[in-house]
Point group: C2
Chain length 372, copies 2
């Protein structure tokens, strides 16, 4: 039996987004790729091989955090996991993973990343294939070209999944603007990220703005709203989702920023201090520079000179010590705490089903808690 | 008054896709970008500037050939340009231009093209901006990153336009599979194009397959079918559109291949013989090599050695002479003639409105006739 075959997962839907939810999402994605195979095969075996690479990439894990928030947003507004809409809702939730696949594949080109989830990135995979096969031309350019096209394909397929969920027209009218805004926002957040790095804008405002659009809106707020709109939530609940989503989303990114500098490589899957070597302009860094520019110009210079360079372990340790000493780590922890409290306060007053509220609280903690 | 304001174009709809059609399509695209500005502005001025670049790119011409075929497909199946559906149909037709914008912007990265329609390509525009502003990092990588994201945005906006046309659910069900197949096919065609070049596959079969999916299906066949589906055309007419579209689409690409080698730079906007320097694996080249491999190995070697290199004018002339001498030019002209005849024969037996039939005949000739 195929993974995620509806028959195997229907039984535990009341547990979702825990239990078999991730499996069910992967089942939808897998079946969807199957459904495109006739068209893909007509174009030819070269295309079919590339599409299988995209399938592997999409199925290769991740915590399906966006579908989980969307599903929970739907539950919270009264969606019935045993009801007739559940299948279509699962499909819409799953579509978020194709948007995410595009974002990751294209981001990996933009960042020249070599690995993703412990595997070679898509552009590296195809560059390697080109190199091994001794084809004509530049292997890296070939890898990038294929990855650009496969990212585009994932983006198209996200839309196909939504459209083929065959939602009632009123639901489409509610969901459409959220879906549309989400994608326009996340692309804006990504663009901002690149622009801010190019301009070496290390202001707190820029860092927070990127967190807002590249992460918070895209990862928590819009998925929750999407779920809410699917269940025709009332405006008051959508407002709560908006607040909760933005706050938890930013807190989640701030936790990720801390992990990117202080995290255990065994847990994060990235070399220790990787964000420092990559030169990411995070709120953590912005907060440190904010203090250092005022009180400790030498520290500011050390940070600016070191960021984005090939730091030794000793230099990484020095940077870490500076971030502590300047109070940036405490500042970020404080922000995480405040944001999480605000989010939970908004939720506690909301007309959300109790079961979903419990799950949102758990998800908020999971997304923002210390793990080191 | 804004370009394409509905009030200015409604009067001449009976002339479309001639007359004010191009203007009307551009009006839809322009207004659509306006409608996204609130979201874009929220993300920030950096994003707004980039989006204005995308707007200029999308409005900067092209013949709007895909919307024209879609509109004519709709007319041919009985669509009423004065009726209540015309506005939504125009919007769906216009969405094709956002798909095309993505295809061009991403293709220009893939081909490292410097100009498009007489202007710097999008990635070059942003690389230049980076260079001029003396930002940090590699200007070319920056330009590519922005162009990848703006291409993605165009692709998302294509879907937004379709969804916001607010078609009746039965129409969505008819149009959706065509829209979906079109995008999956064209990305496959592009991928094939890259793969074939990398593998130096100069077979006729490979060249024809690329023409089929990268051009014919995407430029003529699927737009016609989209128009037909919008008007709920009967299956017999859709079959005619399929044949007509595939044949005219391939003939159109074959004419383009000839122009790419023999065309007048003043007409094509590209340096003379550009396709030879770029090393495009066209049907023209495949046909020449097919004969040369059999009868004239020295000629085959000259072609293979010269293709994709920085040929002098004299070398371009020599290649051209070879393509004539080997009969490849005649072969391609014969194919164009046969395909056009087949397409017109299919059309002549079809139950298509006479006015639309006339236009399709005119469009077939315009797309495939000699212009040198």
């Amino acid at each position: 039996m195929r993974r995620g075959d509806p028959a195997t997962v229907t039984g535990d839907r009341s547990e979702w987004p825990r239990g078999s939810f991730v499996q069910a999402v992967e089942g939808v994605l897998d079946s969807f790729v199957d459904s495109r195979r006739p068209t893909v095969d007509t174009v030819g075996p070269v295309y079919a091989e590339a599409v299988e690479e995209l399938r592997s990439f999409v199925l290769r894990g991740g915590k399906r955090i966006r579908p989980s928030f969307a599903w929970t947003g739907w539950l919270g507004a009264g969606g019935d996991p045993g009801g007739p809409d559940a299948e279509a809702v699962l499909q819409v939730c799953s579509a978020l993973e194709f948007v995410q696949a595009c974002a990751l594949v294209h981001d990996d080109i933009i960042d020249s990343s070599l690995t993703r989830r412990g595997f070679p990135t898509v552009h590296v995979t195809f560059a390697e294939r080109h190199r091994r096969s001794e084809w004509i031309g530049d292997p890296d350019a070939f890898g990038e070209a294929v990855a650009i096209l496969l990212g585009d394909l994932a983006l198209c397929w996200a839309d196909d999944l939504i459209r083929e969920a065959d939602l009632p027209i009123e639901t489409v009218r509610r969901v459409g603007p959220i879906w549309s805004a989400m994608r326009t926002e996340v692309l804006g957040g990504q663009l901002l990220d690149i622009a801010v790095e190019a301009r070496s804008d290390d202001s707190l405002d820029a860092a927070l703005r990127i967190d807002r659009y590249k992460t918070a809106a895209y990862t928590v707020e819009r998925p929750l709203l999407l779920g809410g709109a699917l269940a025709d939530a009332d405006p008051a609940l959508l407002d709560v989702y908006r607040t909760f989503g933005a706050d938890i989303g930013i807190a989640f990114q701030l936790r990720d920023d801390l992990l990117g500098v202080f995290g255990d490589p065994a847990v994060t899957g990235k070399p220790s201090g990787d964000d420092l070597r990559e030169g990411k302009r995070t709120v953590l860094i912005a907060a440190a520079l904010d203090v250092a520019d005022r009180d400790d110009p030498a520290a500011a210079e050390t940070i600016r000179a070191g960021l984005g360079t090939d730091l030794t372990s000793a230099q990484v340790d020095e940077m870490r010590a500076l971030l502590f000493r300047l109070g940036a780590v405490d500042e970020v922890e404080r922000r995480i705490t405040t944001l999480t409290e605000c989010a939970l306060a908004a939720l506690s007053g909301a007309d959300v089903t109790p079961d979903a509220a419990d799950r949102l609280v758990a998800m908020a903690h999971a997304a923002t808690r210390r793990t080191t």
